[in-house]
């Protein structure tokens, strides 16, 4: 049986990809970000998951607004990394496991999540920005992805609660797959940021840390919030944090935090968190949070 061994929440800021490609890992302005990924990359290297299920959003690259899916699951052995206007990146195409992807699609649809299925489509920075920081890729990726795109661009978006339920359904799908695969769930986006209109540049660190606390200990409170609540508290584009709720929904009730990195350099609170199943006192988690952002 396939098993979920942990989950990772990560920003997917496109400039992470640009800085990575330019080799700025040791640049003082970027090192706090790249160094923050090392413990998670190390954990992945030790645990050797076969599969990453990626909850991400397409930034009107693969899909356009003339036909924009609310939930879409990618099926294929390979997905090229998309050209988003600046040319192609030097990364191998993302790998997939068609049988697992098809099983998850069947399980989700039979569980009343009526997904769009996409095939032979490129995938943009929603996956490709954090992926090379998590997994080595020379000469190729060590495992496969199950890409699940969520509409966080064109309202009406799925509610926070619906995303959480999607995560729960993904857990049922993974756990009903007969092969012994190790699976890690990745939720991408956020945290606080706004990148359009006069309110561009808005951040809210206090809310970001509260969001992380609620995500770990009281996720149902986050599922009750409206999109307007997320926009007010974290900036317009932080509404994409509903994808972290999909990740959380795939995890058991009690999770413990193994690592956190919070780096608000310019406009997005670039955040990385790793959780496993287990007990943790809120005070311990809060202390780790304070250390990470100090």
């Amino acid at each position: 049986m396939a098993k979920i061994i942990g989950c990772i929440g990560t920003s997917h800021v496109p400039t992470i990809g640009v800085a990575y490609d330019k080799g700025r890992q040791a640049d003082p302005a970027w090192a706090p970000l790249f160094d923050g990924y090392k413990p998670v990359a190390q954990w992945l290297a030790e645990k050797k998951p076969d599969v990453l299920v990626f909850f991400y959003n397409d930034h009107a690259t693969t899909f356009f607004f003339d036909m924009y899916p609310t939930f879409a699951l990618g099926v294929g052995e390979r997905f090229p990394i998309a050209d988003e206007g600046a040319g192609l990146r030097n990364l191998p195409a993302i790998k997939g496991n068609v049988d697992l992807q098809a099983h998850i699609a069947e399980s989700l649809v039979n569980d009343e999540f009526d997904l769009t299925i996409f095939q032979e489509k490129p995938i943009d920075h929603g996956c490709a920005s954090p992926l090379p920081l998590l997994w080595p890729h020379d000469p190729d990726w060590p495992g496969t992805l199950v890409p699940i795109a969520i509409n966080v661009l064109q309202y009406p978006l799925p509610t926070a609660k619906r995303c959480y339920k999607l995560g729960q359904a993904v857990r049922r799908a993974v756990e009903s797959y007969p092969e012994d695969l190790k699976v890690v769930i990745v939720g991408t986006g956020g945290l606080s940021h706004q990148i359009h209109g006069e309110r561009t540049g808005f951040n809210n660190e206090e809310w970001d840390l509260e969001f992380l606390r609620l995500l770990q200990f009281e996720p149902e409170k986050l599922t009750q919030m409206t999109h307007a609540d997320y926009v007010r508290l974290g900036g317009a584009e932080s509404v994409e944090q509903i994808m972290w709720l999909a990740m959380r929904g795939a995890m058991p009730e009690k999770i413990r935090k193994l690592h956190q990195n919070y780096y608000l350099a310019t406009t997005t609170a670039m955040t990385l968190v790793l959780y496993e199943e287990g007990e943790e006192a809120p005070e311990t988690a809060a202390r780790a949070t304070a250390d990470a952002s100090a």
């Binding site: 496109p14 400039t15 003082p28 302005a29 970027w30 930034h59 009107a60 690259t61 356009f64 607004f65 003339d66 998309a82 050209d83 988003e84 206007g85 600046a86 040319g87 661009l153 064109q154 309202y155 009406p156 978006l157 509610t159 706004q194 990148i195 359009h196 209109g197 006069e198 309110r199 561009t200 540049g201 409206t226 999109h227 307007a228 926009v231 007010r232 317009a236 584009e237 608000l264 350099a265 310019t266 406009t267």
Partner: protein
């Protein structure tokens, strides 16, 4: 009214991109979206007027594009995530676009950030 967006109109400087907006600005957003294709962006660079015409932009939209009026485009209903593809083609970074939308010079904007040298 989408109940998930109740109260969003009270948040200043924010333009929720919904189906109604998208329906009105589909041609503009498609024009911007197609900048991910190397053929489209090379043709745009060679003859912007012809490509805007072919894309079906109206006069207001053409003017906003000609002037690279980033905030005007957002207010008109351009989605930022296709706008940023156009920004790549005209050699503007996102940080530069953010500064312009705030009505600040690039250096002024960067001084409001925690790590101004992160660019």
């Amino acid at each position: 009214m989408n109940p998930q967006l109740k109260g969003i109109e009270e948040i200043g400087g924010t333009y929720a991109f919904d189906i109604r907006t998208s329906n009105k600005t589909l041609k503009l957003n498609r024009f911007l979206w197609k900048m991910i294709g190397s053929g489209w962006r090379e043709r745009y660079k060679a003859d912007p007027e012809a490509v805007m015409q072919e894309a079906g932009l109206n006069d207001t939209e053409k003017d906003l594009i000609r002037r690279q009026d980033w905030l005007g485009l957002v207010r008109h209903g351009a989605n930022f995530f296709v706008l940023e593809k156009f920004a790549r083609v005209v050699r503007k970074t996102n940080l530069e676009v953010y500064a312009i939308m705030r009505g600040e010079s690039f250096e002024e904007f960067m001084q409001t950030r925690r790590v101004p040298e992160s660019r």
